[in-house]
Point group: none
Chain length 424, copies 2
C-alpha cells in the first residue's frame, strides 16, 4: 500500500491556538482511498522549516501533502518553501488570475496585489482549482518523481479540493490497487453501548470487513470497512455484513454514506407530499436551520416560529396563557399546544415543537437544566416525550434538536409502513 | 527562548479516527511558560518509527515531549522506542509498583502482569507520578544533556501530569523567564486581504509583538503575540499595537479574546435594554440559532419567524401579498416588510430579516443563486443591503447570517455612539 506524509503549516497550530482538524480529515480520506499515512507533522509559517520538512518527508514515503499557508498575507509562505525544497521557482498561473478576477468582481471587492500572489505556483505544477475560495492548490513533482501536493488550510476549501481535485489524481498516480471501501450506516435513537451490545456477534465475526462504531451527539455511525482489489469485490464482502447489521438495528438506521437525518426527513416528507412546520423554544431555531440546510427543503418546509418568550408562544402560536400559567412553559401541555399552533398557522401536515431549559441558568429542583419537552402533531395523532439531556447549553440544544428530528423520522417511517401495508 | 518538539503517538491518529487535542494543549501551556514549539509530529504505534522520531527531534531543539503509548497493551511501545533512541534499557520502578498495587486494591480489581509493564521506565529516568491513572510518565536524559519527556495519551491524565509534574521541572531545567502573551481582535465586515492592506505598516513594524490574521467565513481574527518576561511587560508591548490596529480597523472590531459576534450583540442589546426579533427566509433559522446559543439570550431575544414560504411571510409577518407579487420574495421591499412585521408581532425594539436564494436551485439571470437581501428596522429608522454571496448553499446561508449579524452590530454600535455623544 502506498504511504504519504502530511504536513500542516501554521504558527497558530504550534502555539496551540487552533486544533488541527485538517490532518485527521485528510488521513481518513487517504485511508478510504487505500493510502497509508506514514507520519504527520506540524511546522510554523517559516519558509526554511517548511522547506526542510518537505525535503525530508518523501525520502520515507511516496509523497507529501501540505495544508495551510497558501493565503494572500506575508506570513503565507508554503509555496516558497516548496520551491526551496524542490530547487525551483514560482510562476504566475494566468488561468487562476482570470478566475480570481471574476470572483472579486462578483463580490464587488477590489482585487489587491497580495491576492495575485495566490496564483503563484512552483514551475511545472499541476494547478488544483479552488471552487470555494481564491487560493488554488497545486501538485509539484520532485526530480525523483515523488510529489508535493499543497492544499489550502481553510477546512471547507481544503475538503472540496481534496475530494474533487487531489484524490482522483492520487488514485491514478499511486495506482492503488487495494482500496479500503467504507460503508457507513447512520443510526438514531440508540446509544453507542446499546448498538455495541446488539451487533456484538457481527462485530466479532471477522477482521475484513472490519466494523467500527462512532458516536456523535445524538447520532451514531456504524462503519463497515473492507479491503479489496476492486469496488465490486468490496461490495460483495460488505453486503452480507450490512444486511446483518440492519437486521439488528431495525427501525434505527436512517441512512447510509453521509446521509444526514434532516436529508432523510426531507426525502420522506417529499415522498408523501407533506409540509413541515416547527415551533421552537429551547432549540432556538436549530430545527428550522437543520431542515433548511438541505437543498430542496423549500418544497417540504412551510416555516417555523422561534417562540423564545412566553408572549410569543401566545401571540404567534396561540398557546393559551392559562396553559403556560397552570403547567409552566416547560411542560407537555405547552409543547403540544405549541406544535398544534404551528400546524394550524402554517397549514402544515406535521409540526414539531421543543420547550426546555438549555441552561446555564433557569433550572429548578423540579425542572432542572437539561429538561426538554418535545412534541409532534399531525392530523389525527400526536406524540410527546420529555428527556433530561446532559451537558452544557450547546449539548442540550444539539441533543434536543437531534431527538426531535429523530421523533419525526420515526413517525414518518411508521406511517410509511402503515400506508405500505394497506396497499399490499 | 528554549524550543521543544512534540510527538503524538497513536496509529488511530494517522487513520484520522481521532482528532489530536493533546498537542495543542501542550503547545499552549508551553507558550504560556515561555517555551517555543519548534515542530510537532504524529507517529503510529511502531517502535522503530517512534525511536527515529525521538532521535531526530532533539538535534533541532532542546528536547522532546511525547504523549501516548504508555498504556498496558501490546501496542503501547513508546517506552521501548525511547530506550532504543537513547540506547538504554527499561527498569521497573518499584515506587510506582507499590502505588499501582494500592490503586488496584482500592478499586477492587486484580493487577495484571501487563499493568506492571507500565512501571517500566528507561534506566535513570525521573518518574512523573500519574495522579489520575496508572501509567506514570518520565523524563529521560540523552548523553548530550537533552531530554525526552513522556506523558500518557489520556487527556485528563496528561493535562494534570503536565501541569503538576512536568512544567515545574521544565521551568527549572530550561531556566525560562520569558512567556508569550496573545491578544486577539475579532473583526467583521472586512475581508482578510482588506485587513492586511489596512494594517500592513503595523504588521511590518516589528517581530515582537508579532501579528497574524486568520480568516473564517465572514469573520477575521487579528492576533497580537508578545514575548516578554512578565504578563505586565507583555501588556505594555501589546497595548500600543492594539490601539494602532483598532484605529485602522475602526468600526469593525466587535470583540477580543474569544468573544463571538452573537455574544457581542447580546451584550449590546442588554446594555441598552433592547429586545430583538428575527424574520428569516433564506437563513432558515440560523440567525435565531446563533443568538440563542448565547447564555442569557432569553433576556434580549423575543423570538423569530422562519417564513420559508411566501404564504408564511404574509400570514405570520403581515407582508402584503401585493409586495411579493410586484417585487418578488427576494427584494428590498419584501425584506423591509418582513423585518417590520417581526418588529410589530414580537413588539421588539429592533428586528432583522433575510430573504434570498441559497441554491442550488431557484436562481435566475436577474436574481442568481447567492443573492440575498438583508434588512434591519428599529423605531424611526431602517437599513437594507443586498449582496451576492459566493459558494454553495451552506456558504450562502452562513455568510448571509454573518452579514446580518454584522449589520445589527454596526447599528447597535453607531446608535451607542450617538447616545454617547448626546450625553457628553
Amino acid at each position: 500500500m502506498p504511504a504519504l506524509e502530511i504536513i500542516a503549516v501554521g504558527t497558530e497550530l504550534l502555539l496551540g491556538q487552533l486544533v488541527d482538524t485538517n490532518t485527521p480529515f485528510i488521513a481518513q480520506r487517504l485511508a478510504d482511498t487505500g493510502i497509508d499515512v506514514y507520519a504527520a507533522h506540524t511546522v510554523g509559517d517559516n519558509r526554511a522549516r517548511i522547506a526542510t520538512a518537505i525535503s525530508a518527508a518523501p525520502d520515507r514515503s511516496d509523497g507529501v501533502i501540505t495544508c495551510g499557508g497558501l493565503g494572500p498575507t506575508v506570513d503565507d509562505v508554503t509555496r516558497d518553501g516548496v520551491c526551496d525544497a524542490l530547487d525551483t521557482e514560482c510562476e504566475r498561473d494566468e488561468v487562476t488570475i482570470a478566475r480570481m478576477e471574476g470572483f472579486f468582481a462578483s463580490i464587488g471587492r477590489p482585487m489587491r496585489e497580495n491576492n495575485r500572489k495566490q496564483a503563484d505556483v512552483p514551475r511545472g505544477s499541476t494547478v488544483l482549482e479552488n471552487s470555494r475560495g481564491t487560493a488554488p492548490g497545486f501538485i509539484a513533482t520532485r526530480r525523483d518523481g515523488k510529489f508535493v501536493a499543497c492544499l489550502p488550510g481553510v477546512p471547507h476549501e481544503m475538503e472540496t479540493m481534496l475530494a474533487e481535485q487531489l484524490l482522483p489524481r492520487l488514485r491514478e498516480r499511486l495506482k492503488t490497487d487495494e482500496r479500503i471501501v467504507t460503508r457507513v450506516l447512520h443510526v438514531t435513537g440508540l446509544g453507542e453501548s446499546e448498538i455495541d451490545h446488539r451487533i456484538d456477534d457481527v462485530f466479532r465475526a471477522g477482521e475484513n470487513p472490519k466494523i467500527a462504531v462512532l458516536a456523535h451527539r445524538g447520532v451514531c455511525d456504524v462503519k463497515i470497512m473492507a479491503k479489496a482489489r476492486s469496488d465490486a469485490r468490496a461490495a460483495e464482502m460488505i453486503d452480507p455484513v450490512e444486511r446483518a447489521l440492519r437486521e439488528r438495528l431495525r427501525g434505527h438506521v436512517f441512512g447510509s454514506d453521509g446521509t444526514t437525518l434532516p436529508q432523510a426527513i426531507v426525502e420522506l416528507l417529499r415522498a408523501r407530499g407533506w409540509r413541515l412546520a416547527a415551533a421552537e423554544s429551547c432549540t432556538g431555531g436549530r430545527i428550522a436551520a437543520a431542515i433548511t440546510s438541505v437543498p430542496g427543503a423549500s418544497k417540504v418546509f412551510a416555516g417555523g416560529v422561534v417562540a423564545y418568550e412566553d408572549e410569543a408562544k401566545t401571540v404567534l402560536l396561540d398557546v393559551a396563557a392559562g396553559v403556560i400559567r397552570q403547567h409552566g412553559a416547560v411542560s407537555e401541555e405547552t409543547a403540544l399546544s405549541m406544535a398544534l399552533g404551528a400546524l394550524r398557522r402554517f397549514r402544515a401536515d406535521v409540526a414539531l415543537s421543543t420547550t426546555g431549559i438549555a441552561g446555564p441558568d433557569g433550572g429548578t429542583e423540579e425542572k432542572p437544566v437539561g429538561l426538554v419537552w418535545l412534541a409532534a402533531v399531525w392530523p389525527g395523532s400526536k406524540r410527546s416525550v420529555s428527556t433530561n439531556f446532559p451537558g452544557d447549553r450547546d449539548d442540550v440544544q444539539t441533543r434536543a434538536t437531534q431527538a426531535t428530528l429523530s421523533l419525526l423520522w420515526g413517525i414518518l417511517m411508521s406511517e410509511e409502513a402503515t400506508i405500505h401495508q394497506s396497499r399490499t
